[in-house]
């Protein structure tokens, strides 16, 4: 009895996910260390295997390649295309995905009707649709956007459903006993309550969509970062392939760090899911 009381009142120790190193050196080490390791690994392997530049170019030559594509106008144009596509596809999928998720989350009949179908289509990777999209829309931006939207849609839907379903029952009951109507519950409790999950779903969805973007750009030949690396392969520009791969990661990290992560942080903090 006493033991359980004690256990219940004792605050759980915070688990350190990131070392909150106080010294600048420590912070620098954790920020740069892993990348430094990968760089050394790559360069080490190159020397070990006596690889030539056309199979394993040095990272420095990849950086130089980035400089070249920036100087000759390819890079800004392709980055613009890729970002435009992910933005358009993201907007479409978020609007549809959140609406569908809310409907399924709130309505058991809709869930029974549509959830199995959505699960089925989720198993079909977006890239599997590409041949059909090509027949329907041709070598066109629509095909790329549709295939990104397809991949982005599912995490958004599933997370929205989870968000709606995990809103605590007492929140609903509380509003009902305040005289709230069905509308007050949906718009005042269910939607705001699901928001943190919806945002997480969007973040995950955009990550999936970004991969689909690269894959479909490679196949369609309409510009974009994905096309850049595909084309570089045909032209034997291995350093440019490496450059493109670096850029894909860098662009994603920037999007995540500057747009998606702040959104998630803002909702999660305010919703009290993390304690500062």
């Amino acid at each position: 009895m006493a033991a359980t009381l004690e256990a219940a009142s004792a605050k759980p120790k915070a688990i350190k996910l990131t070392p909150d190193g106080s010294s600048l050196w420590e912070r620098l080490f954790f920020a740069v260390g892993p990348y430094l390791f990968l760089i050394l690994l790559w360069e080490g392997l190159r020397r070990l295997l006596h690889a030539d530049a056309s199979t394993m170019p040095s990272l420095w030559s990849a950086v130089e390649a980035i400089g070249r594509v920036a100087a000759n106008g390819i890079l800004p144009d392709y980055i613009f295309h890729s970002l435009e596509r992910i933005t358009v596809a993201g907007s479409i999928s978020v609007v549809i995905g959140v609406s569908v998720g809310i409907t399924i989350g709130l309505n058991a009949t809709a869930a029974a009707l549509f959830l199995p179908v959505i699960r089925y289509f989720n198993s079909l990777a977006g890239i599997a649709w590409l041949p059909l999209f090509l027949i329907w829309f041709g070598f066109n931006d629509k095909t790329i956007i549709l295939s990104i939207s397809y991949n982005l849609f599912f995490p958004v839907v599933f997370n929205t459903i989870i968000g709606i379903r995990t809103v605590p029952k007492v929140f609903r009951q509380g509003v009902l006993t305040l005289g709230g109507s069905w509308r007050d519950v949906v718009f005042g409790v269910m939607l705001p309550g699901a928001l943190p999950n919806v945002i997480s779903g969007i973040r995950l969805g955009v990550a999936y969509g970004w991969r689909a973007l690269i894959a479909s750009e490679m196949l369609l030949g309409l510009g974009g970062i994905g096309y850049m690396i595909f084309k570089a392969q045909a032209n034997d520009l291995t350093d440019r392939i490496l450059a493109g791969m670096l850029l894909i990661g860098i662009l994603w990290s920037l999007m995540d760090y500057l747009i998606l992560q702040p959104l998630e942080e803002a909702t999660i903090r305010r919703w009290g899911l993390v304690r500062r």
Binding site: R68, A71, N72, G73, I74, D77, G223, K231, N235, Y257, L258, I259, P262
Partner: protein, 113 residues
């Protein structure tokens, strides 16, 4: 509310986007300013007289790739590529002006018919 506004202005997203817009805007403005210097005097002369320029040579500082040829295709008919130069025919003069604002183009001159 002002506190919220303040934290929004100081937010990394806001700061980065503003920096990006300012840098890109500044760069584009700079390109517009130096654009006339990319045009050969003879071409500039021709542009005052004619609506459409018959044949121009676009000089680049690198060997053109498909990207550049396709890109210039939007402005006129590509009549050939020689070394670091792309030849365009039937280019309206305001499109020549637009071309001169592209930072990766070294110079544009009149080409022999």
């Amino acid at each position: 509310m002002p506190a919220m506004l303040k934290s929004l202005i100081r937010h990394r997203t806001f700061l980065s986007l503003v920096t990006l817009v300012v840098l890109w805007g500044g760069f584009t403005a700079f390109q517009q300013v130096i654009a006339p210097s990319r045009l050969d005097p003879a071409l500039r002369q021709a542009m005052t007289k004619e609506e459409t320029i018959g044949r121009i040579a676009v000089d680049l500082s690198f060997t053109p790739e498909d990207f550049h040829i396709n890109y210039l295709q939007q402005y006129g008919v590509v009549a050939g590529v020689s070394g670091k130069t792309i030849f365009l025919v039937q280019v309206p003069r305001n499109e020549v002006r637009q071309l001169s604002e592209l930072y990766w183009i070294k110079s544009i001159r009149l080409a022999d018919q």
